[in-house]
Symmetry: C2
Subunit: 523 residues, 2 copies
């Protein structure tokens, strides 16, 4: 580009630039189409083999606490990976093992690492709809709410194609064994298509994500050197509602707290004392109302001060995403949203103060005409990049103090109760997840976006941050590497619930998505 | 007085007035002292007989649902009353019987009726402190909280006097069998002192007050003619904290309601949706905060409009009552009160909006990081004279509407949920107790006050209204008669709880109080 710039005055140069601008994308597009076509060709001609291999994996129970079967998963996955030429090992932790794999490519420009977890949530077979969580079952569509329809169908014979809208029901189909079959099939397709790899690949498959990842971080610390890479892809979670290939560049952080305000030390008769003994229910109402509007806007001093704003690119990426707000409203039966931010997508790019629960005295049939002795609110704070959990909690505490409360951190004794007319107890988690956000403007981010845009039928959805929280910051802090989320499951996969499922079409798209990412690089 | 007025110009008249003004009260005082002395003389010389008779009554179990024993109470009380020359009958209702008695006095100026209930609250003997609820036990003082001290003592031999601070522990000692022995002993004392009765007396003793008085009001309607009187004394409840003779001229009314506000139709993830899906917890907080300050002042339009203000006499009566606020604060472990009214006593003369309970999502160990689907508050409204329960509830509903809510009265369906951005469900009791308040300025009220002032050691406590609620308005509506509350039990009698007790001194004072009221009349 330097050379061209130097010749900007020459009219020939302009012609060169214009022609290049037209040809280079076309030529890249041609190669990219070739990649997508090769992968799709492989998939359409191997659907039965792919599904068979997936079903075999899904048949091994994988509940995190079932250590014997979880290890069987690890051993099975090791074999699947070795079959693809990946140097794989089962690495022990204090809990379930990590499956680690590496595929070195001579002359590779960079190393990509993929994180997947192969364990699953607990299951209660009796609450699954006419299926067993570890007998993967094919249904010709999504189970209609509250019914057992559509009924399971047999796996088709080799002459019948899988319909994209069919779904496989089993624990761990979507969360999170789909990426395993997706990535390995992408490798098969590249191999069969004679497309040489251009990036070193590393794979880290965790076996106790659903049990809180207790042993993962000691593992990461211990094996930091093994885990060097240029970018880490978190292959977990669902895509955006539209089903388009989705990248998320961050997650919100989270910390929780509980606030209790006090009235009398035992419930008292609301007739004898109503209007005089302090009512903790109304005190809590005033305190919460002072913290936040019904529109979501937090009124606590400094709550938004440390927010790192989105860049123009990130804002544009959000604006390009089709809205599913009407769908969500209909699904959850409400019409009025909190409207301080113009859209759901923008709202979750900002810190939130959520009331998770309220409790005081009794309601419903148990209601009694009393002034309760206390009232408690459970809150969480969802944070964005550079919000510090401790600082955010402290801001809430400062706010409570500004409302005239004396704040304590344990159940107050009589002396304290008699000393302070307004008394609040705060309990908060010592730890919280920091938010994490990889800039979309980094060269590696641009490269990833470009690869996905080039090799996808649908325009990819680029999310600066998910609304939810994952301890990605720990990977970030330990490995000092950009982290990008790369989910493939359908959004309505019943994650963490009975009847977990994967839509076949999502797996097909996922294979192409992973192939595009595996082949990442300047075209 | 007319005659005197006519002669106001004569100097002799002035002398007459001054002398009369000095002599008449002295002469009345002399007679009154005589009455009190006669009653006290009788009591001090018959303490053992009085307590023996009381203990015999208390030994008969009286739990409302124990119909057999409740009837034994009725039969026993009938005999006690007949012994005093009261024409007594056991009158059937659909439930436990009413004991009705009448004592006609030739030439009586008026008829006084006394209401007492002889049934008691349920008992769980295992939770009583080393005593059985129907084996009346004497202790040399009040049980210290959380201990079995002081230990029971034997009933003393006839040569030993009862100490005023000793207490009898049994169900129904205070609530509400003490007035039975109190009134009958007062009659004995008047009889023994040769003091002729001057008022007709009627007695209505209910047998299922603690079971909700279901059959009392049909009984009152049926026997309305039998129940004519000039004043009805409700002999139930405790005296003021000071233990001074207490009259209450009214009670607050009560009605209850529950308000539910809605978010999504199921809890949703606070990360995915926090800042956008409406949070019902915060909505409820804002709604409640808009209704009422933390100082007790209700901000609902018209909430105080129908309040009948206290008269000057009633205000002065309140001001004359010693404050026990410091005691209550210490007892219930709080220091800051709601302070819109200058004192507890004045606060309960006004309507109140009490938050009885709050519920939304989960708190404590069960807390989860969600946006709950709804939030509910249980409220009661305590009303004063002329507040109409339906009108007060409607004012709250109007207020909710003014905050932008669409109000429904059943669980909203999807269509309703989708139509109204702010949706509140209100549940309220169809019935409520109206308040009741007999004016202290009525001649009969003045007469009662005068009698009690004249015959008491301590200055009587005159309460325009109790803070609590009783369905006195039904007696008022049916019988169209002034109603005055005349309790004698100690305030710390453990009413409705294990270890119910009566302080002996309160019975002694009660006997004198009842004698004064029985002898009510212009001196």
């Amino acid at each position: 580009m330097k050379k061209i710039k130097a010749k900007l005055t020459s009219p020939h140069v302009w012609i060169f630039i214009v022609v290049t601008a037209l040809i280079v994308p076309f030529s890249a597009q041609a190669r990219q189409d070739n990649l997508q076509q090769e992968v799709r060709k492989y998939r359409t001609s191997h659907e039965h083999k792919i599904i068979d291999e997936f079903v075999e994996l899904l048949s091994i129970p994988n509940v995190s606490s079932d250590h014997v079967n979880v290890r069987k998963n690890a051993e099975h996955i090791l074999k699947m990976m070795e079959k693809r030429g990946i140097a794989t090992q089962i690495m022990e932790t204090a809990g379930n093992p990590v499956v680690f794999g590496e595929l070195k490519v001579p002359g590779a420009a960079r190393t990509l690492m993929f994180y997947v977890h192969y364990d699953g949530q607990p299951v209660d077979p009796s609450s699954w709809t006419e299926t067993h969580p570890f007998k993967p079952t094919l249904r010709p569509g999504k189970l209609k709410a509250g019914t057992a329809e559509p009924k399971p169908i047999p796996y088709p014979d080799p002459s019948t194609k899988y319909d994209e809208d069919w779904r496989i029901y089993a624990r761990g189909t979507s969360d999170d064994r789909a990426p395993i079959i997706g990535i390995l099939t992408a490798l098969d397709a590249l191999h069969e298509g004679g497309i040489p790899l251009r990036n070193n690949l590393k794979f880290i498959l965790e076996g106790e994500e659903e049990a809180g990842s207790t042993n993962l971080f000691p593992f990461l610390r211990e094996h930091k050197d093994l885990l060097t890479c240029d970018v880490l892809f978190m292959c977990d979670g669902p895509t955006y509602y539209s089903g388009a290939p989705t990248l998320f560049f961050g997650v919100r952080g989270i910390t929780s707290m509980q606030i209790t305000v006090y009235g009398p030390n035992a419930s008292v008769h609301s007739g004898h004392y109503g209007n005089w003994v302090p009512n903790p229910g109304i005190r809590l109402a005033h305190l919460l109302a002072s913290m936040r509007g019904t529109n979501g806007r937090v009124k606590i001093e400094g709550f938004y001060d440390t927010v790192v704003p989105l860049t123009e690119n990130e804002i544009n990426a959000l604006k390009a995403i089709p809205s599913y707000e009407a769908h969500i409203k209909e699904n959850y039966g409400f019409s009025g949203t909190e409207d301080y931010w113009p859209s759901l997508l923008e709202a979750v790019q900002n810190p939130a103060l959520n009331v998770n629960g309220l409790n005081s005295g009794w309601v419903g049939d148990q209601a009694r005409t009393i002034i309760p002795s206390s009232a408690t609110a459970a809150l969480d704070i969802r944070m964005v990049k550079d919000n510090d959990p401790k600082d955010m909690v402290q801001k809430v505490i400062n706010h409570i103090k500004q409302q005239g409360y004396h704040v304590v951190y344990a159940e107050p004794d009589l002396e304290t109760r008699m000393k302070y007319p307004f008394l609040a107890r705060v309990r908060h988690t010592e730890s919280g997840y920091k938010a994490s956000r990889t800039s979309m403007d980094l060269p590696i981010s641009k490269l990833v976006i470009r690869a996905l845009v080039a090799h996808s039928d649908k325009k990819p959805v680029l999310l600066p941050s998910l609304g939810g929280s994952l301890p990605i910051y720990m990977f970030e802090d330990l490995l000092q590497v950009p982290i990008i989320g790369l989910p493939i499951a359908n959004h309505d996969n019943n994650q963490h619930q009975p009847d977990e499922n994967l839509r076949i079409g999502n797996l097909w798209t996922g294979i192409e998505t992973y192939a595009a990412i595996l082949m990442l690089g300047e075209d």
